[in-house]
Amino acid sequence: MSDLKIQLRDQVLNAVSQGQQLNIIGGDSKSFMGRAANGEPLRVSGHQGIISYQPVELVLTARAGTPLHEIEAALAEHDQMLAFEPPKFGRDFASGVDTQCVSNSTLGGTLATNQSGPARPWCGSVRDHVLGLGLINGRGEKLNFGGQVMKNVAGYDVSRLQAGAMGTLGLITEISLKVMPKPAVTQTLIEPMTVDHAITVMNQYSAQSKPLSGACWYGGSLYLRLSGAGSAVQATVKQWTARSDAELMDPQSAERFWCQLRDQTLPFFGTNSIDAVSTVAADSAALESATAYQRALWRFSVKPTADQPEAINGDWLIDWGGAQRWLRTISAAQRSMAEMETMAVAMAGQVSLYRGGDRSDEVMHRQTSALQAIQQRLKRSLDPSLVFNLGRLYRWM
């Protein structure tokens, strides 16, 4: 529990005066994301601690370097939670139920990368839960935007602007979040199904006023999670099982499944092999020949009803009721970003190369020239000396 804001500000000012670039690092659990980092490390993980938590107000404020598990433990004491289910990654991460794992993931990194878990379509994203934040901009100024109340429309929304900006717009120092009560009851249904049918069913169920909080297709089965008042969950389970082949999962297996989905430790993600090779790749001359290097994980954020593309050499996992689709390809080298973008556009959405592949090339869906120009000007407005995470989001950013 320590406040390092002054030191962090000084480091920023120093970097600006020296003409250095900074690479913001929180728990260092998401260094695989975005383009390869440049610059001097600016370590934020020491700047941690919950500053205030008012369960009755549904508001928590914490320093950016606070580990997620610390925040979730504090919330659990009051039967509350982060409703956006942030993934918890970590290098020493042993797969299993989340209470058993130790993850380095921090609140700041979660917002900077806009990471949200399976409940996102129904409960909102980390961006949706942000109420306000502290930011050190590229002039070394300590600024505050938003607030610690539910509604605030004074000034531009610089707080939510940070979601997914990958630290390119400044150093997040504190975040105020809306927190929510934990659901009284959670149950999961599973039913074998083809992917196309599952996408239709997910959307049909999402259009009903039922306590749905997860809808995922994986390995030939549709998983549906229901969370809320006990009576509502029980009644929905009864209705949905009566008219389908869906079966109730045992609670432990179900919880394990959703945690592994959230933290990307299901075998599908092949996380270990991809990351292991990335580490090797850094100092291996025989990069191209490494089989595992060619594995890549693509993330498609698309219209939830979009048809699945024609057969492609890779495996799919469909989450977020159809709106987030993961594709694991064996040979990233043969799959160009342009090809994936065409596929994403056909699904009315966008794609990013989430893990693996060549991180020196572009890894995010391309922007139109007009939007690129706006984003470059916006970056300059917050970071005129281009000190923060240069090139992490796009080559031109």
Binding site: V149, K151, V153, A154, Y156, R160, S209, A306, A348, S381
Partner: protein
């Protein structure tokens, strides 16, 4: 008015030497009439009159021209022409805003989006609607109802206000604790930039790559661009909704009851509080059955599946009684639910009946500060000799004090504004903010330096410049001009005149 436009002013000083010289108002109107229905280019002051203000009629100004394009292509050409001649542009929806956010600029063009009213598409399976900006908020839910869907944010002006205006103000409503604000309920917008370029921000997915410009545009009060199409999310209509009314002998008791409901894990669909002034006015107006001797009244709506509503309503009733409710009443059918809401929904006009004029404020506070804020407000009320009624979105801490005054009494509006300013400062003092959902506009621009320091305001200005380097989009609203920040801090509250020009 002609000379007002032709006169050189500070706007001209910003023009670079290679800008074309400004045409006269008549010449410019002629240019617009080449591609817009001639009737929809308004030059004369009589026809322009309805555009002189928004819902905050104390602030008014006449524009140079009003244009009402009927296609997006026309909007784009308007923006291109305004860019060419470096004219201020004030975009406008239904004009129901409450912060003078769409008050015209005397040298500028009012760009009304009121003719763009098409619901382009509703996709029931994907639960989205594509809308032109002039579609009324309520019309979205009406059109979606056939699919068992509706649009979440429901500002009290929803019968008239437009979705374009909702995006500009990040509008909320009584259901936003559970269902969020506009920013949580839109996926994508098409926007015309200050230069007249058409851009699409967001996607049909739940997020997009790059900087989240959608978050920045939402609530930006028309300062960053003009939105010409919006894709909104639609929600499944709940199987059932019921409301519990509870009366209390003190505001503190009612506030404690609200906290307890949330502590029990219930997020009500709506949770509203009224103080004794508001209760009496609303009951006299609506005959909803509110106990007029109560000091505070809560309306708590629970929605969802039949089973969930049944379970939670029983718990809410029990908690209200535990916290000393003097009476409770639960809606047994839709008609009764509508009746219980009728008083609250008409609270503003109801208060209008007990006073010649009223001024609606819009601060947000941590709920725990409610009793303190209300007692401080009473002290201010005594000081200024002005009555105040309070309507409160209790779930999310958004307070709407209604200051009662008489505009015909010399100096009373100025006194009211000063009182209002003090209330907003009080909100900031207890950890809240100066506006929860009405926006800053011109009305609260003097309070911006109370909530934000000079560096933060300078940062806002820098962001504005990234989109609109010549400050032509809704100039003088939302964010105080940086060179005057210090002046704002020193400004005596009463020194601002109501009819002052845009860039105050």
């Amino acid at each position: 008015m002609e000379d007002q436009y032709d006169n050189d002013n500070k706007q001209d000083l910003r023009l670079s030497m290679n800008q074309p010289s400004k045409p006269s108002r008549a010449e410019l109107a002629q240019r617009f009439r080449q591609f817009i229905d001639p009737q929809a280019v308004i030059e004369d002051s009589e026809t322009q009159k309805p555009y002189e203000c928004d819902g905050l009629s104390m602030y008014c100004e006449m524009p140079m021209l009003v244009v009402l394009p009927s296609t997006v292509e026309q909007v784009q050409r308007v923006m291109q022409l305004c860019h060419q001649y470096q004219l201020p542009v004030v975009a406008r929806g239904a004009g129901t805003g409450l912060c003078a956010g769409s008050m015209p600029h005397p040298d500028g063009v009012v760009l009304s989006l009121a003719k763009l009213t098409e619901i382009i598409d509703i996709d029931p399976l994907a639960r989205t609607a594509r809308l032109q900006p002039g579609v009324r908020n309520l019309a979205i839910s009406e059109a979606a109802a056939v699919h068992g869907l509706y649009y979440g944010p429901d500002p009290s002006s929803q019968i008239a206000c437009t979705i374009g205006g909702n995006v500009a103000e990040n509008s909320g409503g009584v259901h936003c604790l559970k269902y969020g604000l506009t920013v949580h309920n839109i996926l994508k917008v098409e926007m015309i930039t200050a230069e007249g370029e058409r851009v699409v921000i967001g996607s049909d997915g739940l997020d997009s790559c790059g900087i989240d410009l959608l978050a920045l545009i939402t609530g930006s009060e028309g300062l960053l661009g003009v939105v010409t199409e919006i894709t909104v999310k639609l929600l499944p209509s709940p199987e059932q909704a019921r409301v519990v009314m509870a009366a209390f002998d003190s505001v503190q008791q009612a506030a404690d009851a609200v906290g307890d409901i949330i502590s029990h894990g219930i997020i009500p669909a709506g949770l509203e509080m009224m103080d004794s002034y508001a209760i009496k006015a609303a009951e006299d107006f609506a005959q909803a059955g509110y106990p007029k001797d109560a000091q505070a009244l809560l309306l708590c709506e629970v929605d969802g599946t039949m089973e969930e509503v049944h379970e939670h309503i029983a718990l809410v009733e029990r908690l209200f009684k535990q916290f000393g409710a003097t009476s409770t009443r639960t809606s047994q059918n839709e008609a009764e639910r509508a009746l219980l809401w009728k008083g609250r929904k008409n609270a503003f006009p109801a208060v209008g009946r007990i006073s010649p004029d009223y001024y609606c404020m819009d601060g947000t506070i941590p709920r725990s500060q409610l009793a303190h804020v209300l007692s401080e407000m009473q002290r201010l009320s005594d000081h200024y000799q002005l009555r105040v009624a309070n309507v409160f979105h209790a779930g999310d801490g958004n307070l709407h004090p209604l200051i009662l005054f008489d505009a015909n009494v010399a100096g009373e509006f100025e006194k009211t504004e000063e009182f209002g300013g003090k209330i907003l400062e009080l909100c900031v003092e207890v950890g809240g903010c100066i506006t929860g959902e009405h926006g800053v506009g011109i009305e609260k621009i003097r309070q911006m330096p109370v909530q934000f320091n000079q560096q933060e305001l300078l940062q806002f200005n820098a962001i504005k410049h990234a989109f609109d380097p010549h400050e032509r989009l809704n100039p003088g609203k939302g964010i105080p001009l940086l060179k005057r920040c210090q002046e704002y801090r020193a400004l005596d509250d009463s020194s601002l005149k109501t009819n002052e020009k845009g860039a105050i």
